[in-house]
């Protein structure tokens, strides 16, 4: 089993090596023009020369701060509203039509309205990242709560549980696998929205960093490194969230 696992890792590394090698070779042999598509070595070298670790850390910090604040609040609000809509019939009647009406609008389509309402600064970005996290979570929470196995509710009722304790101790744990899926989707979406928001209107953050590079006719290498950094950041944070979810619901649910 472990040796098979090792084989898988080796094959994966071989695949990556082939891909990166092909890229580097194509640039060196002039198959692709290194001025518009530099090879990996050259791209990293340019970036290392022109960008200080401090600059990268600063931009990355801004990006992470934005995405986290929007994601955390969007997730909390989505959970609260989705759970309430699934649990209290009257609230569901009120909230669901609004949610269903607004849900098909992609978060990025809110950018102009966000600017109208909140101006060009941070609140606008926060708002659309918030929406990016809110809709997947609210949908998942509603779905999770409204499809809890009625048998579990009945079982809990036989122990005298009702009202809020029934919701907190039984319905919400039972809905948590759905909620977890929604949260993971929300993270991916928040991240995508963040980058777009930074490209369109920002002066700090990884998205802004690469857009500035292109607007000032700077180095393509830096743009490429920036894109890879954004991808890596997304990959690592998503893996961290997946691991947290495994600890949270995978334990009892089997994953």
């Amino acid at each position: 089993m472990t040796s098979r696992r090792r084989d898988d890792v080796l094959l994966g590394l071989a695949g990556v090596a082939i891909a990166v090698g092909t890229w580097e070779l194509s640039a060196r042999t002039g198959l692709i023009d290194p001025r518009v598509f530099p090879g990996p070595v050259m791209a990293i070298a340019t970036a290392a020369e022109r960008l200080s670790p401090g600059t990268i850390a600063d931009n990355m910090g801004w990006s992470l701060y934005r995405v986290f604040s929007g994601f955390v609040l969007g997730t909390l609000a989505g959970t609260a509203i989705g759970v309430a809509a699934g649990w209290y019939r009257w609230f569901g009647l009120l909230a669901r039509p609004l949610i269903e009406l607004l849900r098909p609008i992609p978060p990025l389509a809110w950018i102009p309205l966000a600017i109208i309402w909140f101006g060009l600064g941070e609140p606008s970005k926060f708002f659309i990242i918030f929406l990016g996290a809110f809709f997947p979570v609210v949908t998942a929470a509603y779905h999770g709560i409204s499809t809890v196995d009625p048998m579990l509710i009945r079982a809990a009722q036989t122990y005298g549980l009702k009202g809020v304790p029934l919701l907190v101790r039984v319905a919400i744990p039972a809905a948590s696998p759905d909620l977890a899926t929604g949260i993971r989707i929300a993270w991916g979406l928040s991240f995508g929205v963040l980058v777009a928001a930074e490209l369109i209107a920002a002066d700090r953050g990884l998205g802004a960093m690469i857009m500035r590079e292109r607007n000032t006719g700077g180095s393509v290498g830096i743009i490429i490194v920036g894109i890879l950094l954004i991808g890596l950041l997304n990959l690592l944070t998503d893996a961290a969230i997946a691991a947290a979810i495994r600890r949270w619901v995978g334990r009892w649910r089997g994953a």
Partner: protein, 263 residues
């Protein structure tokens, strides 16, 4: 049935209440019409945008058509590439293991982060938009096709073998049909991704398309047109996803648990 009627009534009442509230709020001077356009203004905006158009000469229909064409170019291109490639990778274990990290990483790259690079390569024109949409759709589609083939229920494969099927014949008669629901799910997700990307991509370097419309309207302080544009985007998204779901039910009537497929 009765419940649905109640729900519908509540929904309509709620929307009417919000619209009335905006109208009253603006007329009493409590809300700024620029920030919260009242229903009357939205209605006038709608007339304008369907007749003279915004910017003048480009009606809402032609914006919508432009956006649809852009999505389809990228989307169909991605499907044409991703389906055969995914069918191959999913079937060949070694290939799957070699490509897995690359697929995961490329999927993690936020599609719009490629915008500056793609503009350098292809300029700010139509090709850039098609490439961006294609990129987003491609990796979503590819990973779903691979998963669809890879995770076919082994019992079905064993059943196929018991009838003496093997090799390409087994693949064609058992593995491929069994993978179809997941492939369809991927196609639906990919279209969602494409839809998300187009709105962002249209906000830069063009005045045509729904994304451009809402951004353009904002810079002319025409928030009612922004809102109409958003609603059209929402309706379009809704029509597309329910259309694909319907197509799926018609083409794969036997498939049951499509909602359960997520990833």
């Amino acid at each position: 049935m009765k419940r649905q009627l109640i729900q519908l009534a509540v929904a309509l009442a709620l929307i009417a209440a919000i619209l009335a509230g905006l109208e009253v709020g603006v007329r009493s001077g409590f809300l700024k019409a620029y920030q919260f356009p009242p229903a009357s203004r939205i209605a006038r905006g709608f007339v304008e945008i369907t007749t003279t158009g915004f910017p003048t000469g480009i009606s809402i229909w032609s914006h919508t058509l432009t956006t649809i064409v852009r999505i389809l170019e990228g989307y169909i291109g991605a499907l044409v590439l991703a389906i055969p490639l995914g069918l191959l990778i999913g079937a060949v274990g070694v290939l799957d293991k070699m490509t897995a990290p690359i697929v995961v990483f490329c999927r993690s790259i936020a599609t719009l982060s490629l915008l500056p690079l793609v503009i350098v390569w292809f300029g700010a024109g139509e090709l850039t938009k098609a490439v961006l949409i294609g990129y987003g759709c491609f990796w979503t589609m590819l990973s779903n096709v691979i998963a669809g083939v890879k995770y076919v229920d082994p019992v079905l494969v064993r059943a196929g073998r018991s009838f003496g099927l093997s090799g390409t014949e087994l693949y064609r008669t058992v593995v491929f049909p069994a993978a179809l629901p997941r492939i369809f799910a991927g196609a639906r997700m990919a279209l969602g991704v494409g839809f998300m990307v187009i709105v962002g991509a249209e906000m830069i370097g063009t005045i045509e398309g729904l994304g451009a419309l809402i951004m353009e309207a904002r810079s002319f302080y025409r928030s009612e047109i922004t809102i109409i544009g958003m609603l059209v985007i929402g309706v379009l998204g809704f029509v597309i996803s329910s259309g694909l779901a319907a197509a799926e039910r018609i083409m794969l009537p036997w498939s049951t648990d499509l909602e359960g497929i997520r990833r």
